[in-house]
């Protein structure tokens, strides 16, 4: 196990840098400290283990690259959303692994900031940033996927204690998580959106069972989670009972609009990697120089630029104090489909290599085959494509559904 040794993390956070100097500081720190073995575009790449990932992310946090906009009182860096965007552009530029705690940092954290009590904020938020608590998201159930309002996991109150019974599915990363953000029903099933509450459930609590599910990429990335009379203290209930649905919607809006804000820049990194790999193989170098593939690459550039435009517009809106609301669905639809188009192109191109044994081609194939498979989920999770289209039709275009 390698221990991540980082250059003085203060370098990045020191002073009150903003704008370009802030960007330069973040870039310098990332480039000086990200191990080559973490970079999936490097021949030295080997997928980091959990401990390594946690150490790396904790170091990123200390350097000012996580909890960027969270208040200082809860361990955050108290910076602006624009700085968050800048940092994410720099994060995206490097082929680093996805966070093992993105649910904690990008979903649980914001929701706790929005509906949590002061005590909860102090208890949960620093632990997320320091990577002591990894979170997962327990929304989906076998009988409630797109139709979340149909979920059946129950929470019944018994004085200061809630008892949770039911089953969750597709819970990403549950096997390595300490906490699960559980959406459970407190009222009758017929109430649909009402009578739903949110809880921060410890996964080592008595009655919780986690069973990993093998996924398309051969990894065990998501899980089934069973709750059998699990006791949860009232102090771990997030927001008022009955407010669970609103809180959930807010989480999902965040998930769609601002989650992994580095996507467009990561996408650009992937495109650069694809091209550099193609240029190193004689047949591929010739292929990408023909007009057909030039135009296809041109289309990828346009997709990326449009994605950046969506992200930057969302940031501008949020900075101006607007709620993103249903508009998060626009960006989500675009990135998920654009990334799938790109992923298909990478396979199509790399399959035509004349020297498939070249290290550069091997590295690219390993990375893009994984990306292709993982991208199949992008039009499914965080609300499927069809659900996003429905949201745009209902809530943005406000098309009548009546007779």
């Amino acid at each position: 196990m390698t221990v991540i040794e980082t250059e003085s993390p203060e370098a990045a956070t020191a002073g009150e840098l903003s704008g370009e100097p802030y960007r330069v500081a973040m870039r310098r720190w990332l480039r000086a400290n990200l191990p080559a073995s973490f970079r999936s575009d490097s021949p030295a790449f080997s997928s980091p283990g959990l401990t390594q990932s946690k150490e790396w992310e904790a170091a990123m946090y200390r350097a000012g690259l996580a909890g960027i906009t969270w208040p200082k009182a809860y361990g955050g860096h108290g910076r602006t959303l624009r700085e968050h965007l800048i940092a994410n552009q720099e994060i995206g530029a490097l082929a680093m692994p996805e966070s093992v705690n993105s649910i904690g940092k990008e979903l649980a954290g914001p929701i706790i900031l929005a509906v949590g009590t002061e005590e909860q904020k102090h208890r949960f938020l620093p632990a997320i940033l320091e990577m002591r608590d990894i979170w997962c998201q327990g929304f989906s159930e076998p009988e409630a996927g797109s139709d979340l309002a149909g979920l059946r996991t129950r929470a019944a109150r018994d004085g200061d204690i809630w008892r949770i019974n039911g089953q969750k599915i597709w819970t990403s990363g549950a096997y390595r998580a300490q906490r699960c953000l559980v959406l459970a029903r407190t009222g009758p099933l017929e109430d649909r959106h009402r009578g739903l509450a949110m809880f921060a459930v410890r996964l080592d609590a008595k009655g919780v069972r986690v069973r990993p599910i093998k996924s398309i990429d051969g990894r065990e990335s998501f899980c089934e989670v069973f709750f059998d009379d699990v006791e949860v203290l009232q102090s771990d209930a997030l927001g008022a009972p009955d407010e669970g649905w609103n809180a959930a919607i807010r989480v999902l809006e965040i998930e769609r609009a601002t989650n992994r804000m580095y996507r467009a820049w990561r996408f650009e990194n992937e495109l650069r990697h694809l091209i550099s790999a193609c240029k190193s193989d004689p047949a591929l170098a010739q292929l990408v120089a023909n007009r057909h593939y030039e135009a296809r690459i041109g289309e990828v550039v346009v997709d990326i630029e449009v994605l950046k435009a969506h992200v930057e517009t969302a940031v501008d809106a949020l900075v101006n104090g607007d709620r993103i609301g249903a508009r998060g669905s626009l960006a989500k639809l675009h990135w998920s489909e654009a990334h799938q188009r790109f992923a298909a192109l990478t396979l199509e191109l790399l399959a035509q290599a004349s020297l498939p044994q070249l290290p550069a081609v091997q590295v690219a194939r390993r990375r893009f085959e994984a990306i292709y498979l993982q991208a199949r989920a992008e039009t499914i999770y965080a609300g499927t494509t069809e659900i996003q289209l429905g949201i745009i039709a209902d809530r943005i275009l406000q098309l009548s559904k009546g007779k």
Partner: protein, 345 residues
Amino acid sequence: MTTLTGEGLQPSEFAVTAARAVADCAALGPREQAKHLANDGLLGVIASQDVGGLDLPLAFAVPVVAAAGSGLLGFPLMESLLLSRALQDTLPRAAEAVVSGEMLATVAWQGSVSAEREGESVVLNGWVARAACARDADCVLVRIGSGAAALVPTDSEGVVVEDAAGLDLTVPEHTVRLQGVTIPAVSVLPDSTWTLLGSDANVLRAAAILGSAETCLAMAQEHASTRRQFGRALSYNQALRHSLARQKLALEGIRHAITRSVGETAGSIERDAVFLAAAAYGCAISEGALQVHGGMGFTWDVPVHRHLRRVRALQAQGDASGSLAALGRRTIAAIAPASDVAVSG
């Protein structure tokens, strides 16, 4: 209006004026339109104050051109806007005449001519195309070689304006032949002219497409809510709801890309991408709107086809397929083979 300056002014404020002016122009001939648009201060939005303009950034021309697209204005507005600024230093009198609506000028976006210097004159030979409303124009800007340009009066000896096939009926695009056309050397603009013109035109073409696409989607939305089949409004059907939702995604993509392309840090990639996105999405939106209209959409009376025609014409005018490949080519050229860089980024 002409007394306004950039301070505190928002581009969106021009949208209302422009929409009204475009509506007023509907029944007018090109010359009267020029006067009318000039009176509203719309032709000199980005030209310097020395030639009677407002000296505002390109972002302010966006809502003006979008309104022209939305209202299907039959006037080379984008060309006038860009020319008023392109001419202001070298040919200030001409720029002034464009801004005031006295002179109708256009640009031939395709092709270039050869130029030979003869004393104080230059002789032009060749043919150019895609010159919007050239039949009515007093002057046409033609490209010389790869980067320079010259303003040529259409009544010069040796200039032949020909009708050209084209989808856009309200803004017909003409081919212009130049056979030994002699113009004063001062009418030749510097080498950088064409690049700047082309890059700004890409943003404004996107704006024009935005206007058309917005109108198409609004029409489709209205039709889907009012037309009934199987005892229900069309909008009840998920297939149509999803199709309209996709059109909305495309529309917002164009809008956001325009905002980005006129931002402080925008460069040539943003400029090219905004046009290419608008061309692709704009076609999808207007064709999609036509489909939602069913048989009605195919009739001459429903104006969706006019927007579709215009969007397709703009797509061709900006040579979308050529610039898409060029964008890819530039991107590919800028990146070194993997063997040279073990780790990218």
